[in-house]
C-alpha cells in the first residue's frame, strides 16, 4: 500500500473524469464518466478507511517538493479527522452526481465539470499537509461553487454567488497573510522555513502573534462555518443555489470551517484559542438560539434549512471550543451528521421544488397524501435534524453538551439545550405546514419519488441511522486524533499556569 499514492488517486480522479467529460458529447457518456470518477473516488476512500489504523497519526502520507523556491511542498495525508471528512465528501459527491442525472439538463457538461472540480478542491482541503497546498485547495473550491450557484441558481443567483465569493475570499485572504506570517515566525525561531502543517503545529508562538494570527484564521473559518454574525451569505447562497449546490454547501463546505478550527486554530494557537474561548462560546450559543429563532419565521423552505444550519453549526463551534475530548468528538460527529442530514434535507427540498416549483411554505401543504415515500424520508431527515436520539444528529449534539458540562462551561451548555426545543419547533412546524393538513388543488397530480431518488435518500438515511445507533464506528476513526489535540491544549494550559 505504501507505494501506491492512494490519496493522490482519490484526490485527482474526479479531475481526470472532469477532463474526460470535456471531450464527450453524449449526456449519457458524460454522466457515466462522472459517476465512475466519483464512485471510484468513494470506493477508494472507503478503502483508505479500511486500511486506516486509528490513532497512528497521519497516514498514507505522500510528499514531494512542489515549489522548493518558496518552501512549498505537495504533501498529503489523512488522520481520523480528515478521513471522516473525506468519506463524507466523496459520499455526498457521488450521490449528488447521481442525483444530477435526473435533475440537470441544462449545460450538463459544464455542470459535471464544475462538480468534479469542486470535489477535487474540497477533498484537497482535507488531505493537504502543506499550508499553501491547503490554501490552494481552499480557494480552488470557490470558483466551481461560484459557477454552480451563478449558472444553475435561482433568480437572485448573481447577488448570492458574488456575496458568497466575496465573503469567503475576504476571510481566506486574511488567513493567507496569517499563514505567511506563521511561516516566518516559525522560521525565524527555529531556522527551518517550511509550510509543513505538522511541523508548524509543533511550534510555539508568542501570545501577541497568536492573537493576531488566530484572528485571521478565525475570520476565515468563522465565515465558512458560518458563525453569527458572519452567516448572512449562507441563506442567500442556499436559496439561490441549485439543489446539488445546496447539498454540497451545507454538506461539506461548512465543514471546512469546523475542520479548520480543529486542525489549525487549536493546535497552532492554544493560548489565543483559550483567550477567545468565551467570545466564541457566546457566539456559538447565539448562533444556536438566534439561528433557530430566525429559522422559525422563514417562509422559504431553503432559507429555513439554511438558518437551521447556522443553528446546528453553532454546536460545532461550541464543542470545539469546549476544549474537551467529548466536545471535539461531538463537534466532529455533529459535522458529519449535519453534512448527511442537511444535505439530505436540501435534496428533499430540491425534489419537492422539482415537483411543485414552489418553495414557499405557505403555498404547500398536505403533500404527504401524494408523496408518501417522500413524506417518510423527509420526516426522517427532519427528525434527524432536530437531534432525535437514535439518529446521527443526536450524537453530536449530545456529546457537545457533554463536553460543555465537562469543561465547566455549563451555562453555555444549558443555553444550547434550549436550541433543541427551538429546532424541534421550527422543523416540525415546517413539516406540518408543508406535508400535513389538506392537499392543495394544484398539487393533485404530483408524482412520488422515483426509484433513483428514493435510493439516494435511503442511502443517506441508512448512514444517518447507522451513525445514530453505532456512532462508535465513526467516533473510533478520529477520537485518538482529537484526544491528541485536547491533550496538547491542556498541556499548554498547565505550562501557562506555571509561568504565571
Amino acid at each position: 500500500m505504501d507505494s501506491i499514492p492512494i490519496l493522490s488517486i482519490v484526490l485527482w480522479l474526479p479531475l481526470i473524469a472532469a477532463v474526460i467529460v470535456l471531450f464527450l458529447r453524449e449526456r449519457r457518456a458524460m454522466f457515466a464518466v462522472a459517476m465512475a470518477g466519483s464512485a471510484l473516488s468513494l470506493i477508494l476512500s472507503v478503502a483508505v478507511w479500511a486500511g486506516f489504523s486509528p490513532g497512528d497519526g497521519m497516514q498514507f502520507r505522500e510528499s514531494f517538493d512542489w515549489l522548493p523556491a518558496l518552501g512549498i511542498q505537495y504533501a498529503l495525508g489523512v488522520d481520523g479527522i480528515s478521513l471522516l471528512m473525506v468519506l463524507l465528501n466523496t459520499f455526498l459527491f457521488f450521490l449528488c452526481i447521481v442525483y444530477a442525472w435526473a435533475s440537470v439538463h441544462d449545460r450538463v457538461k459544464e455542470y459535471l465539470f464544475t462538480m468534479l472540480l469542486l470535489e477535487v478542491g474540497i477533498t484537497g482541503v482535507f488531505l493537504a499537509l502543506d499550508f499553501v497546498l491547503f490554501y490552494v485547495f481552499w480557494e480552488i473550491m470557490l470558483i466551481p461553487m461560484y459557477v454552480l450557484i451563478g449558472v444553475w441558481g435561482g433568480e437572485r443567483r448573481v447577488y448570492a454567488t458574488v456575496k458568497f465569493v466575496l465573503y469567503t475570499l475576504f476571510g481566506s485572504l486574511l488567513m493567507l497573510v496569517a499563514i505567511l506570517a506563521l511561516y516566518f515566525v516559525y522560521g525565524n525561531t527555529t531556522g527551518v522555513y517550511t509550510f509543513d502543517i505538522l511541523e508548524l503545529t509543533q511550534g510555539t508562538y508568542g501570545e501577541r502573534f497568536q492573537l493576531w494570527a488566530f484572528l485571521a484564521f478565525f475570520l476565515a473559518f468563522a465565515i465558512k462555518v458560518p458563525m453569527v454574525p458572519f452567516h448572512t451569505w449562507l441563506p442567500d447562497a442556499h436559496v439561490e443555489a441549485p439543489t446539488t449546490g445546496s447539498v454540497i454547501l451545507a454538506g461539506i463546505l461548512l465543514k471546512m470551517g469546523g475542520y479548520g478550527f480543529i486542525r489549525f486554530s487549536l493546535p497552532l494557537f492554544p493560548d489565543a484559542s483559550q483567550a477567545a474561548q468565551t467570545i466564541i462560546l457566546v457566539l456559538s450559543v447565539i448562533a444556536i438560539l438566534y439561528g433557530a429563532m430566525v429559522a422559525l419565521m422563514q417562509t422559504d423552505l431553503k432559507k429555513l434549512i439554511a438558518y437551521s444550519s447556522v443553528s446546528h453549526m453553532g454546536f460545532v463551534t461550541l464543542g470545539i471550543f469546549s476544549f474537551t475530548q467529548q466536545g471535539l468528538d461531538g463537534a466532529m460527529m455533529q459535522m458529519f451528521s449535519h453534512g448527511l442530514v442537511t444535505g439530505a434535507l436540501f435534496l428533499c427540498v430540491g425534489q419537492l421544488y422539482e415537483r411543485t416549483h414552489d418553495r414557499r411554505i405557505a403555498n404547500l401543504g398536505g403533500l404527504a397524501h401524494r408523496l408518501p415515500i417522500f413524506a417518510a424520508l423527509f420526516l426522517f431527515f427532519s427528525l434527524a435534524s432536530i437531534g432525535l436520539p437514535g439518529l446521527s444528529g443526536f450524537v453530536g449534539e449530545f456529546m457537545v453538551l457533554l463536553g460543555a458540562f465537562v469543561a465547566d462551561i455549563r451555562i453555555f451548555g444549558v443555553l444550547a439545550v434550549f436550541g433543541i426545543i427551538l429546532s424541534a419547533a421550527y422543523m416540525l412546524w415546517m413539516y406540518w405546514r408543508v406535508m400535513l393538513g389538506s392537499l392543495k388543488e394544484v398539487h393533485r397530480r404530483l408524482e412520488d419519488l422515483t426509484r433513483l431518488e428514493t435510493a439516494i435518500l435511503a442511502a443517506m438515511a441508512l448512514v444517518t441511522l447507522w451513525a445514530g445507533i453505532q456512532p462508535q464506528v465513526f467516533i473510533g476513526i478520529f477520537t485518538a486524533d482529537t484526544s491528541g489535540i485536547v491533550q496538547a491544549l491542556t498541556a499548554t494550559e498547565v505550562s501557562s499556569a506555571l509561568i504565571k
Partner: protein, 491 residues
Amino acid sequence: METQDLISILPEIILTVIAASVLMVDAFGGQRTHRSLMGLVVGGSVIAILVSVVARVDATSAFGGMVLTDGFAVFFKVLFIAIAALSIVLAFAQSKDVPFAELSALILFATVGMLLLGATGDLILLYLGVELTSIPVYVLVAIKRDRFRATEGALKYFLLGAFASGLLLYGIAWLFGLTGTTNLADMALYVQSQDASSPWFLLGLGLLLVGLAFKVAAVPFHMWTPDAYQGAPTPSTAFLAAGAKMGAMAGLLRVVVHGLEPWQDMVLPIIIAVAVASMIVGNFVAIWQRDVKRLLAYSSIAHTGYMLIGVAVVHTQSEAGGLARDAVAAVMFYAAVYALMTLGAFAVTFAVERRTGGTDMENFQNLGRTSPLLAAAMVIFMISLTGIPPAAGFFGKLYLLQVAVNGGLTWVAVVLVLTSTVSAYYYLRVVVNMYMVEGQPRLLPVPSSTAISAVVAIGIIGTLVLGIYPTGAIEWAQSALEEVGKLALTR
C-alpha cells in the same frame, strides 16, 4: 567599444533591424504582405529571445557600466520580446484597419526601449529608455486616427507623459549635479561616502520617483491610464499594459535596487504610500466600470500597487536572509504573470470587440454559450487576475505577500488582500456577464481570428503552467538575481 559590448545589446540590435526591415518590406512589398511581416516579426523575436539567453558575455556590465548584462536583464529581455511578439500577433487581427507595418515597427522600437530599461545601469539610459518606450506608444494609442477616443486618449497620455518625463529629467539633472555621475552604482557609492540627507538630493530623488511612478501608472500619477487604455485600439492597450508598463517597472526596479540603496528610508515610505493608494483607488474605482478595457485599466493600476509592495520590500530588513533578492524575484515573477494574464484578457476582449463591436460588459453577455472556449479562457484570466488558484496570479500574489510579510510590511499585505477581495467583485462581474445574465449582444459576421486565438491560447497555457508549477519561473527569477552583485542584493 568592444565586441563584448555589442554582444550585450545584440537583442536590441536585432529588434531594431527587424523594425527597419518591416518598414522596408512594407514600403516595397505592397499591400498583401501582412502575413509575411508577422512571420518576420515572430521569427525575429524568437531569434532575439534565443540570442538573449544564449549570447551572454562574461562581464556583468558593458559600455562602462551603462548596460548591465546580468540575469535580471535577460529575464526581462525574454519577457519583453515575447510580449512584443504577442502584441504584434494580436494586432495582426486588425491589420486591415491600421498600418500594420508601422505598428509593428513602433512596437519593436518601444520594445527596444523596454529592453534597455531592464538592462540600464545609468540614468541616461533610463531616461532614453523611458522615452523610447513612451513615444512609439503615444502613436500606438492614436493609431486608429479616425476614432476620436483613440486620439483623445493619446493626447492625454502624450501631454501628461511629456510632463512627467520633464519632471524626471529635472530630477535627473539634480541627481547628476549632486553626485557628479549618472551611473546608478557610482551614485550609490558616492552618496554612501557623503552626507546623503541633504534635501537637494531628495529633490532629485523625489522627482525621479514621480517620473517613474507616472510611467508605471501608480496613484496619484495614474490618471492617464484609464483614458489611454480605453481609447486605444485593444492590441495597443494590451501592449501598453503588458509591455510599456512592465518596462517602466523594470526600470524602477533597476533604480531602486542599484541606485537608491542609500536613501532607503526615503524611498520606502513613498513607495508604500503610492502602492497602497494604487491598490485602493485602482480596485475601488474599477467596481464602477462598465467598459472592460477601462476596467482592466483600473485593475492594472491596482496590480501596479501590488508590485510596488515588492519594490518597497527591497529596502526593508528581515531576519530571514535574502529578502531583497526574494522581493525583486517576486516582482519579476509577478510582472511575467501579469503580462501573460493581462495580454490574454485583452486578447479575449479584442475578440469580443471584433464580434460585437464594443468592449462593454453587455458585449460579453452570453459569451458562455456563443463562444464557450473564449469565455472559459476569460474566466481563467479573471481568476488569475483575482489571484485565485490554480491560476498563476495566485502564486504571484503569494510570493508578493510572502516578501511583504517577511519584510515586516504585514499591514500592507493586509491592504493587498482586502483590496483584492474588492477586485474579485469586478472581475467576477465579467464572468457574471458571460455566464449568468440572459442577454444577447448583436453578433457581427466576423471570421474568428487565428492570431487572437493563438495569443489567448498562449496566455492560458502560460497562466495555468505558472499557476500549477511555477517553480521553474520563480527559480529562474531568483537565480537571475544571483549575478546581480550590487549592494542591495548582497544583504
